[in-house]
């Protein structure tokens, strides 16, 4: 995608022109652009018209397995997982940290993998949805999502589950939230607390009540 196609000028707001030349040259990619949100395409993360910068070596421990990668430094952690390690469980929703579908755990802490570069995590451990089950035994959070029907389309689910696991760890460490009544006390994990703490994960099917129930069950609370 040429940069100038997005510099359409102030009088043509948001206009993206797909020229005949672009269609011929880029084939299916250009056709996809007409139907998919721009951010949904992994190929878009890099500007292929630019000379590529020198690749950087990145060591990642993903789901307890070491991986050595040689990456364009622009590669986000999400793209490294999906495009280089074929771990497509982590989803690219908005690609701007607004939806939470890309949530993974770095050293046990939840982050948006779309808003960080893989190279920034050189030497660190990453846990994705693929790393939660032990063989055929689902992680309790996964099983609770199944049991409580914590999804419809399922696109946000891997992010929801990783986020929920990170969230319960934060609670165990005494992390407060915006709705915690008394900052000097550990918060009780009420529905309001769970909803506030999970607000970085959007579910467009609005399975929220069932997601809350699944989290409560995993936390050992009455659902």
């Amino acid at each position: 995608m040429d940069e100038h196609e997005f510099n359409a000028g102030p009088n043509t707001p948001g206009k993206v022109e797909v020229t005949r030349r672009t269609v011929i040259e880029t084939g299916t990619t250009a056709l996809l652009l007409t139907t998919l949100p721009r951010a949904a395409l992994a190929a878009d993360a890099l500007d292929d018209n630019e000379p590529s910068p020198p690749v950087v070596d990145v060591e990642l421990q993903v789901n307890s397995r070491p991986h050595s990668l040689a990456l364009d430094p622009r590669t986000t952690l999400l793209d490294a997982l999906r495009e280089h390690l074929a771990l497509t469980g982590s989803k690219k929703g908005c690609d701007h940290g607004q939806c939470g579908a890309c949530t993974v755990l770095i050293e046990g802490r939840r982050i948006n993998s779309c808003l960080t570069l893989a190279v920034m995590h050189d030497g660190q451990s990453v846990t994705t949805i693929e790393g939660l089950a032990l063989g055929d035994n689902l992680n309790p959070m996964q099983a609770a999502f199944v049991e409580h029907d914590g999804f419809q389309c399922g696109y946000c689910t891997s992010g929801q589950i990783c986020s929920a696991i990170g969230m319960l760890a934060e609670c165990r460490h005494g992390m407060p939230s915006y709705v915690t009544e008394d900052l000097t006390q550990d918060a009780e994990l009420t529905d309001a607390e769970i909803r506030e703490r999970m607000s970085g994960n959007i579910c467009r099917c609005a399975a929220y009540p069932n997601i809350v129930a699944a989290i409560k069950q995993t936390a050992g609370l009455p659902t």
Partner: protein, 326 residues
Amino acid sequence: MKAFTYQRADSTARAAAAALKPGTKIIAGGTNLLDLMKLQVETPSNLVDINRLPLDKIEETPDGGLRVGALVRNSDLAADARVRQHYGVLSRALLAGASAQLRNKATTGGNLLQRTRCYYFYDITKPCNKRNPGSGCAALAGFNRIHAILGASEHCIATHPSDMAVAMRALDANVETVNREGETKVIPIAEFYRLPGRTPEIETSLKPGEIITAVTLPSPPPGLQIYRKVRDRASYAFALVSVAAIVDSTQGRIHSARLAFGGLAHMPWRVAQAEQRLTNAPADAATFNTAADAVLDDARGFGGNDFKIPLTRRTLHSVLAETTRT
């Protein structure tokens, strides 16, 4: 995203030296910078990663305050027992911002330096004096309900998006920096941010190559601390209006008050006269009104954001009523 080279800094002085080179950006949490790079609002040719520098500690200072390293993550600062105990307004402001995933990544220094969420700054097809100096301001006659009502100029009506910085403004925090020569500097947060004026692209008083190393909080002031954030949804949204308040009162009489506002201006906003009008005054509606008058005397709406003027007054009333309730 435009191509860039990547370096990892092994000292603050080296990071500062690298930052002097044109096209170089420092990256810490990256949650704002990478967002902007994907949209080509930011197009650095070189990134200097400072995440491995030893700037991630929260230490007590000899004067009874705290020194917060520039790389302390927002979630860790909000959860620190000393911050929760003595600087509740800061903990609350941090927890009011972004999502848990972003707070786990975002840093103290990066939060201070985050860019406006003005729609037109983000849209590279639109004029924006902040992104492209001299191109004009599309927000003036555009959709401007999130924009500034105080301190704006004909060149820029953007607001600063940080909640953390608003609390730090109320706490009279200081920003510590270092440059390439290793010289350190302390910048009071009151002097850290700039009004847009004719140069909205220059947002802080940092010199080229100057790197934030820490934020210090003076010993906690007396009084009740609250952070009130008014926004379009209950969580994970930027402030339309926010108030960081530290109010010391007994039995319906205010002894002292500090008020910093977010969502209203190009920087966290504080009005000395409003605080003076509250000092040694009865905690009643008439007093609250005179304080609101002092804050809003120079307020000006641009159409879409006119509602912020009465909203600020009402929010301030509510905050002062809550902090002076006996």
